[in-house]
Each structure stands twice: as C-alpha cells, then as structure tokens.
Symmetry: C5
Subunit: 90 residues, 5 copies
C-alpha cells in the first residue's frame, strides 16, 4: 500500500454511475514530512473519515474495490487506514 | 485515481472487437496548470462527455472495466468524473 | 491505455503453455516522434495486424486478457487499436 | 515481485473493515544495501513473521489477496517470503 | 510484458503457503545489453527453465497467476518466454 498525506478534497458533479455520495480526497504520496515524494498526488475514495493533514494508507488497483461496496464501482484507490499519531512525549 | 487534463481526441479505425463506438481521449496527467506532470499522456475511454481542457479523474487497471459495459472489453482506463470548476469569485 | 510505436517483432520458442501462435511486438511508449518517452519498451500481443512503425494503443494489466481468448493466458499487454494516420493535406 | 528490506512497523487504529489483527510493515524497495532504491517505501501486510532488517519478497496488486484470507480484504501488497541469509563463511 | 535478463536465483525458506517448489529468479529489466534499464530488478517465478543470462519475457500483475497453477497463489510476475537467440551469422 502507499503512504501519503491528505492535501485536499475534490468534487466532480458529472461522473460515472454508482459514485454518488463517495468522498474523493487528493493524497500526496510520501512517508513523512522529511521525505516528501516527487510523485504526483493521487485521488482516493475515503469511507473512514480522513481529514486534511492526516497520514493515510491507500490501497490501489482492483483490491480497492474489495470493500463492502458494489464490486462494479470503477475506483482504483481507497483509504484503508489513518496512521496513528504518536502521543505527546514520544 | 489519476487527475489530468484532456488534451486531444484519438481515433483508431482498426481495433480489437467490442470497442466500436467508444470515445478515446488523450489525457495529460497533472494536478493543475502549475504542476504539469512530466509523465506521458495516457489514453482513456470517456462515457460522460469530457471535452478538451476539462480536468478529469481517471480510473486505471481492471476497475476501469467495472462500468456497466461488458466486463470483457479490453480497456484499462476510463474517465470517471469531470472536476468541478470553481465559480466566479472563488 | 498507453500510446506507442511498434519497433520490432520478438520470438520466444520456449514459452508457457497457451501462447503458441500469438504475435509478440516490442512497443516503444511515446505519444509521437517529438515526444519520445524515456520509458523502456514493452512487449505486447497483437491480434489486429500492427506493423513496424505503426502507432498503437496498448491495454495493460488483467484487462489485456479480456479479449475473446482464454482468460487463463498469462499476458499483460495487448494492442487494441492502430491509430489512424492523418490523410494527405492534413 | 519486489525485493526490499523491512524498515518499520506501522499502526492504524482507524481502518477499513476486515483489517483488524493484520501486521503492516514499511518496506524499502531495493535489491541489497549497495543498491538502495530511490523509490518510496511501500506498506505491506505480513503473515510470516518478518522483522526489521529482513530482506523480503513482496507480491503487489490483486494477487496479494490470493492468500487464504478473505478475498474481499482491501490490501494490495503482502510479504510472501523472507530471503535466506547466507551462512557464515559465504 | 517486460523484457529482461535473468541475473540471479533467490531462495526464501520462510514463505507464504502454496509457494513450495517454485523457482524464483531475479530479473534485470532492459531490452538488451546496450539499453540497460535503471529500473530495479524484479523477482519472477519461472516454470520453463530460464537460466542466468537468458533474455526473458515476464508477465506481471494478476495475469501472472493465469497459468495452470492454483489461481490462489500470491505471485505477481512469471517468466512466460525465453527470447530466441539469433543463430551464428545473424
């Protein structure tokens, strides 16, 4: 999976069928602030409530459809986890 | 998913079976005009009416076939959304 | 899909089962002569008669098996279209 | 498959359904210490007990779900082997 | 498919279920000796007897499992052909 940071929300009113109600986020790939990737941001669906600035784990390709949604939905990236933030003092 | 801009139409009269009538677009990957990607343009099928200059969200790989079309069609990229344009004053 | 130019034929007498009779082409990715990609050439199966020098559209990944062939064939790239050449005067 | 070295564990308390109990590792792609890749680390599931510093073989994409787990789990990378360490004197 | 050269064997005693007895090769992507790729080597399964130095065609992704093996095996790359060597005088 890819590790990245949520940088933006994105909206598309005109879209393929079956995508209504899904949240689309712009994710900047990169392990942490010190290792910002030069790779292009990607767009991923989010169902677990990730917000701007969260570090997230993103599954790509056809396994992205392997959530409880209809397998026929044409998405290729989904946020599967929000990385735990170290607590104060760590 | 990938974010890009439609730059061209492309036609192929000689093609594999099952692709007749589909619209093929050339898409330049890149988040916006300020961050033009050096990645090569890709070809994607469009069924929602994207035009040249539109910023679009493209699903790649086998989920691209997960639209209401026949799953046997050999395509690996489809436009799933046209990104909303900010209205005047934004 | 990827856009590229056929640069060579390639033959493999020793191969996995189920691949006998298929034509394998070496394809240089790149939109046109002015934008030759630095990406490595790829190998794709061709069933529509593409020749050296033809600009072709190539589908990659598991959708490449989504042609009328046996889905169990281990290929990950197929030529799905030959791009139309502009006629004289264009 | 990709060859890499385990560099870190990663935890995500908030995650998609079906992922509870899985171990997530951060893997630095690269053949060996002399050929460290400039590619970004990836996140992979591990079920065979790989530890930090182990050189591992990672399967990516939908075959990563082809283990005895539920095929509906949205993961796209899994450690499938720990590369044998040469014994003393080698 | 990818074209590359076999550079090494690799062994992993500790591995996921279902992989016992398979041969794993390290493959350097690259069209020929003159165009050595800067891409990282990949690991592929071989069932057709490729040896070190052989130029091979490698199928990646889920079609790699589309050989007569159990589709549940978590591999994402397989050697599907050994490129014919030009005979003397060619």
């Amino acid at each position: 999976m890819l590790l990245g940071t949520v940088i933006e929300n994105i909206w598309a009113t005109r879209k393929e069928d079956g995508l209504t109600g899904l949240t689309f986020l712009v994710i900047q790939p990169g392990v942490d602030q010190k290792h910002i990737s030069s790779e292009m941001p990607i767009i991923a669906v989010d169902r677990i409530g990730a917000g701007i600035g969260d570090r997230v784990i993103v599954t790509q390709g056809s396994p992205a459809g392997a959530v409880q949604m209809d397998l026929k939905i044409p998405i290729d990236a989904i946020v599967i986890g929000i990385v735990d933030t170290p607590t104060n003092g760590t």
